[in-house]
Amino acid sequence: MVKETSQKPASSSNTILIQGGIVIDPGRVNGRADVLIQHGKIVEVGFPLKTPIRQDSSVIILEANGWIVAPGLVDLHCHLREPGFEYKETIATGAASAVAGGFTSICCMPNTQPVNDNESITKFMLAKGEEAGKARVFPIGAITRKSEGEELADIGELVDAGCVAISDDGRPVMNSLVMRRALEYAKAFGIPVVDHCEDLHLTDGGCMNEGIVSTELGMPGIPDASEEVMVARNLALADLTGVHVHLAHLSTARSVELVRHAKGQGLPVSAEVCPHHFSITEEAVRCYNSNAKMNPPLRTDEDVQALKQGLVDGTIDVIATDHAPHALQEKQLEFDTAPFGIVGFETALPLTLRLVDDGVLSLEQAIDKLTRAPAQLFHLPVGSLQPGKSADVVVFDPKEEWVVDPTQFHSKSQNTPFGGWTVKGKVKMTLVGGRVVYDAR
């Protein structure tokens, strides 16, 4: 169903050997291994390799120095801003930011201008992604026309043009009948329906978590219930229609509990969490830092613990960035008027590796949530180093420490609350279709 973007190898050689690394291909390989790539595809992963390799200069050897070699990361949730908001990000800068963070496949939300609710926009996005030649771009189409929540978008056309899922993103479908119909209609195409779970009436202009901190700061709050009532609605509709509902960026403990219960009953649901939601809390808002403003908002420590537990027991299937670039001048507005969202590609991996350091997840589990699991949920032909697959690979040093400097991001925008953080885990090399698209060795 999903067409692979054809990435032509730029090098003259058709054979690449990544040697001397620790390969973690979740569920398949975990240990010292070399990776042999030919004509942009994985040929063999093992140690020693069984395939004979010519000992001459036609083979490009990439030394992995004991670093981790994993499938290129897959992000189910990002905003590339093109068309319409090129001053925040373009598909080219977003895709460059992605590969710098180790992501080789990224699914972009339809909240562009115009909205991705027809094949022209979808094809434009795919063409721009191809032209950029960095990460593979998989568009997500709109559920409703202009994401206005009223009439269904031409979903069949969107899927045929290359959309891998549908979502109205930050303008969630409030009308439950429309949502029901969207799910039923999507059944014909075998695509997941992604919902940003938020009852906009309950949010009522809120701009941070509702709780003691919002009370102290005099800031309008967004209650947990704003997310949870929509999670509950979507679970009921998944049950009613039997269609796969993917819940974007869960942020509250009760959301995790609701999904856990639903999964226990065998409902076709999946869920994602963003690194910021398991890394920091509403306390980050205290000095009115607009880079700590996102939707859903940063919650409490109790929620953070529940999200981690959700990752551990599989309630939460994947880690997604919700990469949401905004220009400096927009984030320089006062907290309540600044836009929601932060960039995420270039900090997602090190923030996820903190979970490994803290003993929450094993390294293989962490990589799984960023590769195999997301690819599987959206039926993407990536996320694994299985022979025959496209050679989308990330090589990273899990131990190297570095300081996050937003001015060095490849993204056009710098809106992150993690600037100045010392993190561990540095991407050394990213390959897409056997082509080195990022090299920081």
Binding site: D204, L217, G218, M219, P220, Y288, Q332, E334, D336
Partner: protein, 313 residues
């Protein structure tokens, strides 16, 4: 002892000693307002800019008068909301003003935290004259001054704050100031108008006005914003007035010498009955008078006059 601060942004950041210092200074400056020539040269040659992004008459006038009584030059700057729409940030506006060598910027802004952000970006002293629902510290200070003046102390008094606590910067600043000075604070409002976790501020929550008033020394009435009706916070003004209007009968539930305060402007017949507003218990006009003294004291202390205060925080 001076005020070791560049700015006055919140009551939350002040210690009880700092509050007392401001009140004591205000006390000695109050006398200026009673003179024939209501002026002292303390801030001569200094420039005070009133930067008001929200319409305000009384607070702005009070700051203006305070600055003028200290002999400062005062500029009123009320950017139209259109300049915000045009994309000029608060900081840009403020840097423009700072470039005109303003010594003190008095800011009122609809966004919580605006004063704090501004203070970080300019060298001028910043006084918060109200930031969204967050704080209105000078209102709380003049309220403390008035309570102290009428009651001799704040510590140990039972103070009831009535009305829309959730959307009131006056309530937040007053709760913080009163608890820091050792008063027992009660808040009373319909639950729709109480913010999350308000009890963590050390207050007792009441839903019925009659219950809250018993034994009160001080009653602070908040203004009801009529636009709250459209957000399903209240059934009607009529019902609010029935449940929360301070009438003479209700006032009798408080201590005999209880005083009634209101930050103004009054909604007569809504949160306060005319006969209470005009009674001897009401100290509403004293609050206005004291507002000038307290703001004089603040500007005096922040400008580093007298004992020069250090500006590094």
């Amino acid at each position: 002892m001076g005020l070791q601060r560049k700015d006055l942004l919140t009551i939350a950041a002040l210690t009880a000693d700092e509050i007392q210092l401001i009140l004591t200074t205000a006390e000695s400056l109050k006398e200026v307002g009673g003179r024939d020539i209501k002026k002292v040269p303390a801030l001569r040659g200094k420039t005070v800019v009133n930067l008001f992004f929200e319409p305000s008459t009384r607070t702005r006038t009070s700051f203006e008068l305070a600055a003028k009584r200290l002999s400062a030059d005062v500029i009123n700057f009320s950017p139209s909301t259109s300049s915000i729409v045009k994309g000029e940030t608060l900081i840009d506006t403020a840097r423009n003003i700072e470039s005109m060598q303003a010594d003190i910027i008095v800011l009122r802004h609809p966004s919580p935290g605006a004063a704090e952000n501004l203070a970080r970006s300019v060298r001028s002293s910043v006084i918060n004259a109200g930031d969204g629902w967050h704080e209105h510290p000078t209102q709380a200070l003049l309220d403390m001054f008035t309570i102290k003046e009428k009651k001799g102390r704040v510590e140990g008094l039972t103070v009831v704050i009535v009305g829309d606590i959730a959307h009131s910067r006056v309530a937040r600043s007053n709760i913080l100031a009163l608890t820091k000075l050792g008063a027992e604070v009660r808040v009373v409002a319909p639950p729709t108008m109480l913010p999350d976790s308000i009890e963590h501020f050390g207050v007792t929550v009441f839903y019925r006005l009659d219950d809250a008033l018993i034994g009160a020394d001080v009653i602070i009435m908040l203004r009801l914003q009529r636009e709250r009706l459209s957000r399903a916070l209240l059934p009607s003004i009529r019902e609010y007035a029935k449940l929360f209007c301070l009438t003479p009968e209700r006032l009798n539930l408080a201590k005999p010498e209880a005083i009634v305060m209101h930050p103004g402007p009054l909604n007569r017949g809504v949160e306060i009955s005319p006969s209470v507003a005009d009674s001897v218990a009401a100290v509403i006009l004293d609050q206005v008078t004291n507002g000038v003294s307290v703001r004089m004291a603040l500007m005096y202390l922040l400008s580093g006059s007298g004992e020069r205060s250090t500006l590094n925080e």
